[in-house]
Amino acid sequence: MVEGSKSSITDKLINNQVSNRKIIHIDMDAFFASVEQRDFSELQGKPVIVGGPPHSRGVVAACSYEARKFGIHSAMPSSHAYRLCPDAIFVTPRFEAYREASAIIREIFYSYTTLVEPPSLDEAYLDVSHCSKHNGSATLIAKAIKTKIQQHTGLTASAGISYNKFLAKIASDINKPNGFYLITPEQGKTFIENLPIRKFHGIGKATETKMAKLGIHNGKDLKKVSLQCLKENFGKAGLYYYHIAQGIDPRPVKTNRPKKSIGIETTFQQDLSGSAVILKQLQILLKNALEKTAAKRLSPRTLTIKIKYQNFQQITRSRTLTSPIQHGKAANYLLKELITTTDVNHRKVRLLGVTLSSLEKHSNYHQLDLFDSIS
């Protein structure tokens, strides 16, 4: 849809409200691997892979820039990474160390603003629109944060600054590592026009292929497509893409994200077979997941199980109850019911997962059940 059409009035409104924000995206450079190289000097300058051992079924959690030269990237199976670079040093993750470093950098963020959204241990969005330090200059604030991170953790970070989260995230990726990039509101639109579709945050391979089929290869192409067409092809995400193409991303920096779901999954060293064995493993996962929700004083009503078969085909099955799922007979019964609609009886399974959602705050009262008291 072109500018000047009827929907551009609302777009302008949104734009005015949010286009004068100052958003910084801080992204630690090869975070886990850098912590390892910092703590173990023998790893410095070497291709380091943090994740599962090379001959295991684990994946690469992070890798140093030296390892990236071999084409290794995070989420790649460790075995594949090993083939690309047999000399790489594989280390087991030390999450305690990463959490510790992450806590330090978050403290630095909070000294500038309370509007900090950390989607993971190694990155964060900061809304510094109302920060008075450095005369309110986002550029100076970002540079100061980078310096402080280096001083306090010995690690480098890349910073991206722009007027929304989407562009700030793209900016932080531009001059990595130890990078800094600013996308001003004036540059925003041109910048997006020239951006290849795969660089858009939130667009993965599948969407990229689908967009290519529609003749969308960059931001400019995306901008030409009508909202209706995007909605038809991409559902809910269509509106997001439509706005993004025009440099509009009104998503606020969310300070504490309420947990929408709590999940646990395990890849087994050896494929599991037989529904009894699989049920047993699911019961263990569910028990752990229920303990996690209980610790957060949340009651889940939806249970989803995830099964990855030997051939990597992945399925999920889910069930929502009217009352909270509690550990015990009822939960196990539910699992049994869910796996009856899968092929676990005659197919081997490499990964199992359990996710609890529809989370509600615990009530202080616990309802007794008539049939529980009957032995």
Partner: protein, 366 residues
């Protein structure tokens, strides 16, 4: 083959049939109404494979014919034609022409041969009951049925026949409704069946269509209810209802008489500030009064006192306030009795020992 029927004659039975038919269908024919013309009779059937409703209507036509037509379109056409319109049907090879006044509709049909009707089996036993009595029994019990509980046998109503006594039980585990009454006829049989929730809800609606006795046939896997010109079928839940007799056999404190309206009104007010989900209300029984308290996560609190005749040991017990309100609303007498087990693990709410209905409400622990 042609016949004419008045809109008012066909509309409400057709509505009952369409209620049963699932809107989202994987089998196209199941979204259709099965229409049979059989010598002065029009027989309409709708089903979701679990429940089936058949209505027999008199028409002034002599032929024999059958077909199936899209249910919701059929209903919409009849519904939106003017009141008292005479509707003319013409069954053809691949379509049904519906016309009335200046309107004319041509509906596509699916062959009736593949329509999966309920197969009738020999009833194990049968009895009849005034529709009013059955309707009241259902209205006092069905609200306690579970909905989508993993204990699938709770998503229905237990019907227990013991010679001339009819017992209905519904429970979602948190509360239970018990009904027991005489049916004034000897069946010579003792039998328990579980009728699924949706079947019960449809049956309840069908009872609206008649003032007469209805006949109930219990077969091996299904139940058939004949109400005037309507025949209702439901598949039964194949499970054993949990034995709850233990609950009834424990030791109880003396019944506590309460003015129903006072307690109900107080509860209704206190529940406003209870936890939105759990609706927890605490009842403190003390000399001559119950103190009701509730609080929520915003630290708001409510308190009410209800005068009672009570001289026992003081005690404290909590409930989902809404469950108590539901039970009280379904009792007819002005005075109700709260009968609490000695270990405070359950509470009966009932009128008197002679009343056909009683409720159990399970407490909550803090």
């Amino acid at each position: 083959m042609k016949f004419i029927i008045n809109r008012e004659k066909i509309l409400s039975p057709l509505q009952q049939i369409v209620n049963v038919i699932e809107k989202r269908q994987t089998m196209a024919i199941m979204a259709n109404v099965f229409l049979q013309l059989d010598d002065h009779q029009l027989i309409l059937t709708g089903s979701d494979l679990e429940i089936q409703v058949t209505v027999i209507l008199p028409v002034d036509s002599t032929g024999i014919a059958s077909t199936t037509i899209p249910a919701s379109k059929f209903l919409d056409i009849c519904r939106l034609l003017p009141s008292n319109a005479d509707i003319k049907f013409q069954i053809e090879e691949t379509k049904v022409i519906i016309s009335s006044g200046r309107s004319r509709f041509s509906l596509s049909t699916l062959s009736p041969e593949t329509y999966p009707g309920f197969s009738e089996t020999e009833p194990k036993y049968q009895f009849s009951i005034p529709s009013k009595q059955l309707k009241e029994a259902l209205s006092k019990t069905t609200f306690c049925m579970a909905n989508q509980d993993f204990r699938y046998y709770l998503n229905g109503l237990l019907m227990n026949i013991s010679n001339s006594t009819l017992k209905l039980v519904a429970s979602d585990g948190h509360r239970m409704a018990l009904f027991q009454d005489e049916i004034n006829q000897d069946t010579g049989i003792s039998n328990k069946i579980i009728i699924p929730r949706k079947g019960i809800q449809e049956l309840y609606r069908i009872l609206d269509l008649t003032e007469n006795d209805v006949t109930i046939h219990v077969c091996k896997n299904n139940i058939k209810v004949i109400a005037d010109n309507v025949i209702f079928f439901a598949k039964l839940i194949d499970a054993k209802y949990p034995n709850f007799q233990q609950i009834l056999q424990q030791a109880f404190l003396d019944p506590i008489p309460v003015q129903k309206q006072n307690l109900k009104e107080a509860l209704t007010r206190v529940v406003i500030l209870s936890n939105e989900k759990s609706k927890g209300v605490t009842l403190d029984f003390d000399v001559e009064q119950i103190m009701l308290t509730a609080f929520n996560s915003e630290h708001e609190e409510a308190e009410e006192k209800v005068a009672i005749e009570f001289s026992g040991e003081p005690m404290t017990i909590s409930f989902n306030g809404q469950y108590l309100i539901d039970a009280l609303s379904n009792l007819d007498s002005d005075i109700v009795f709260l009968i609490i087990s000695k270990d405070l693990s359950c509470c009966f709410v009932e009128e008197s020992t002679q009343a056909p209905y009683q409720y159990i409400v399970m407490p909550m622990t803090l």
